[in-house]
């Protein structure tokens, strides 16, 4: 079974600094692998273990620096990695991003049985790229996947557990298909050791631009993005906090305050 995993390098949103002009300072910003994509990689590794043969290809789109997350993906056990980088990709919204990724999959790794994405990326948090790729490739999709329950290579089917607000759906999907992985158990993730990094140190990671994947330039980057940021601003503070010094009576004070507001 051949699996393609789409991953993204994101800024660590816990580490954001502001300039005096209220802009996010991007220089020196810590970059990490989107945490949901770690679960996507893990799901791919788990599926591969259960299958007779096949390879995992990790794909990312971003600046050259995004190679870091591909090296990490290889160290974790992915077999191949592809970096999509081109000035023409800059400013892509989710539609342009998904077109670019879908076009890369079509032209460079067309022999896939399963595509796995993370459910969200913590920077944009749109949860749109996965379903959008599925649509471009005309594939069935299952989002919010908590667990892959069964893989039937012969019948070309997988059964997954999909998380809902009030429970779970058990869903069967015909291969090839695309799934988006929700958060799983953190312990299930194997963190690569130094040996793993040594093993992949010389791995070849092809770098492709718009021409290499035969992407129409009008579909890429800002040109191909129907949405754009009109304004960006820091969230405003709407409250006027009152700090209370309640010493040893805080429990009493808080209980009274809760009752007072509740009954108001």
């Amino acid at each position: 079974m051949n699996i393609t995993v789409c991953i993204k390098q994101v800024p660590d949103t816990d580490d954001i600094r502001w300039s005096k002009e209220n802009n996010i300072i991007r220089e020196g910003m810590m970059s990490i692998l989107n945490p949901y994509d770690d679960f996507a990689i893990q799901a791919a590794l788990d599926v591969k273990k259960l299958c007779s043969e096949g390879e995992i290809t990790a794909v990312t789109m971003g600046p050259l620096q995004a190679k870091e997350v591909l090296v990490y993906a290889l160290a974790r056990g992915c077999d191949e990695a592809v970096l999509l980088t081109d000035k023409k990709f800059a400013g892509s919204d989710t539609l342009a991003t998904s077109k670019t990724l879908a076009q890369c999959i079509k032209t460079k790794t067309p022999r896939f049985d399963l595509i796995i994405c993370g459910q969200f990326a913590i920077d944009g948090d749109t949860a749109q790229t996965g379903p959008s790729i599925a649509n471009h490739l005309n594939l069935p999709q299952v989002t919010f996947v908590k667990e892959i329950l069964n893989i039937d290579e012969a019948a070309r089917k997988i059964v997954v557990k999909q998380e809902l607000e009030n429970g779970y759906n058990i869903v069967e999907a015909a291969l090839p298909c695309l799934i988006c992985m929700n958060r799983g158990e953190q312990e299930a993730i194997y963190l690569p050791r130094i040996n793993d990094y040594v093993r992949v140190a010389n791995a070849f990671i092809p770098v492709y631009g718009a021409k290499d994947i035969e992407l129409d330039e009008n579909c890429a980057g800002i040109k191909g993005s129907p949405t754009f940021v009109w304004r960006a601003f820091k969230p405003e503070i709407k409250r006027e906090p009152v700090m209370v010094n309640c010493d040893n009576h805080c429990a009493q004070f808080l209980t009274d305050k809760i009752m007072e507001v509740y009954n108001s």
Partner: protein, 331 residues
């Protein structure tokens, strides 16, 4: 400037976000614009008269009753195809969808099919003048809530998803009367690729509890496991006294496995808007704030006087959250 194309609202049956969106669409609608509710169902599963009236009262002028035997259970491929057929016939100006799991599954599929933009998880919608046109300006948090971005879309229809509880439920009372029109999409050639096998309800998921709670007692990394037990104990006490109370948690508390993911409040968790939100040992990362800032009254307890949460509360107490909680349980 007048717009005559309509506003479509996807109705996921019996969710409150669908009613919130109809009210919001009504607020946005210009003179000639109609607010249309899109309801999907199988042939046997018809929309009740009572529910139709509720949709009209919430703000709909018109209901599209979308009927096909393949639409009795939600299926992304069937549902998006049915929606696209109606959208291509009617050319709506704006489409609003609730950011539930189902909505987030469906919306990108529809927008991609239509080759148009989609803005996810908006916290504010308004119409602004842009290049001599009234366009939908959709504001949403990005970078984990640290930055707000107002996004415009160059193409039509302009699509947006909004979470439940973000557009506080309006006091709606529009006319109960409106038009209902049947729409029968042709889904004969659509291959779904997915088969729904069964639904397993998880009663431990307290989504509804958080949703309906008047008081939310939330814990963060400043509490330990024992602190979370006290939080549960206090919530139970309040509930026993008839106060609708639920327990919430920050992402860091969920990550360190002190609380289950379904309690998580914030950007990647639930958005809540209770009457009182009490934050025990929550530092106030922006991604958390974005999930609870619509609460009426916020109380914060934290041992760190410089915790950001103290800028975003109504009443702040500097102290040991765990110890204060334990004392509150004894009262």
């Amino acid at each position: 400037m007048s717009i005559t194309c309509d506003i479509f609202v996807y109705v996921q049956k019996y969710t409150s976000v669908a009613l919130e969106l109809l009210g919001e669409a009504r607020r946005l609608a210009q003179q000639d614009q109609k607010v249309c509710a899109l309801v999907f169902g199988g042939v046997a599963d018809r929309i009740s008269e009572e529910y139709s009236k509720e949709l009209f009262r919430a703000g709909a002028d018109k209901i599209y009753d979308i009927i096909n035997e393949k639409l009795d259970v939600y299926n992304c491929q069937y549902c998006s195809e049915a929606a696209v057929q109606l959208i291509e016939r009617e050319n709506p100006y704006i489409i609003l969808i609730g950011a539930t799991h189902q909505g987030r599954d469906l919306a990108p599929r529809i927008s991609t099919r239509l080759n148009t933009g989609l803005t996810a998880d908006c916290t504010k919608l308004e119409l602004i003048e842009y290049k001599d046109e009234l366009r939908l300006a959709a504001t949403r948090p990005t970078f984990g809530g640290q930055l707000m971005a107002t996004i415009l879309c160059k193409t039509n229809p302009q699509m947006a998803t909004v979470r439940e509880n973000v557009l506080r439920k309006l006091e709606y009372n529009y006319s109960e009367e409106g038009k209902a029109e049947e729409f029968r999409p042709n889904l004969d050639n659509v291959v779904s690729g997915t088969t729904f096998i069964e639904f397993i309800e998880d009663t431990a998921k307290n989504a509804d509890e958080l949703e309906g709670a008047k008081i939310i007692l939330a814990g963060g990394k400043g509490l330990n496991k024992e602190g979370f037990e006290k939080l549960e104990e206090l919530a139970k006490k309040f509930n026993d006294r008839g106060l609708q109370t639920a327990v919430g948690a920050s992402r860091k508390a969920v990550d360190s496995e002190m609380a289950s993911q379904c309690c998580q409040v914030g950007q990647t968790g639930k958005t809540v808007a209770p009457k009182i939100y009490v934050a025990f040992g929550i530092s106030g990362a922006v991604q958390h704030l974005s999930g609870m800032q619509n609460s009426d009254f916020v109380i914060a307890v934290n041992s760190d006087p410089d915790a950001p949460i103290f800028k975003y509360c109504d009443v702040g107490v500097v102290g040991d959250a765990g110890a204060i909680l334990a004392q509150m349980c004894e009262m």
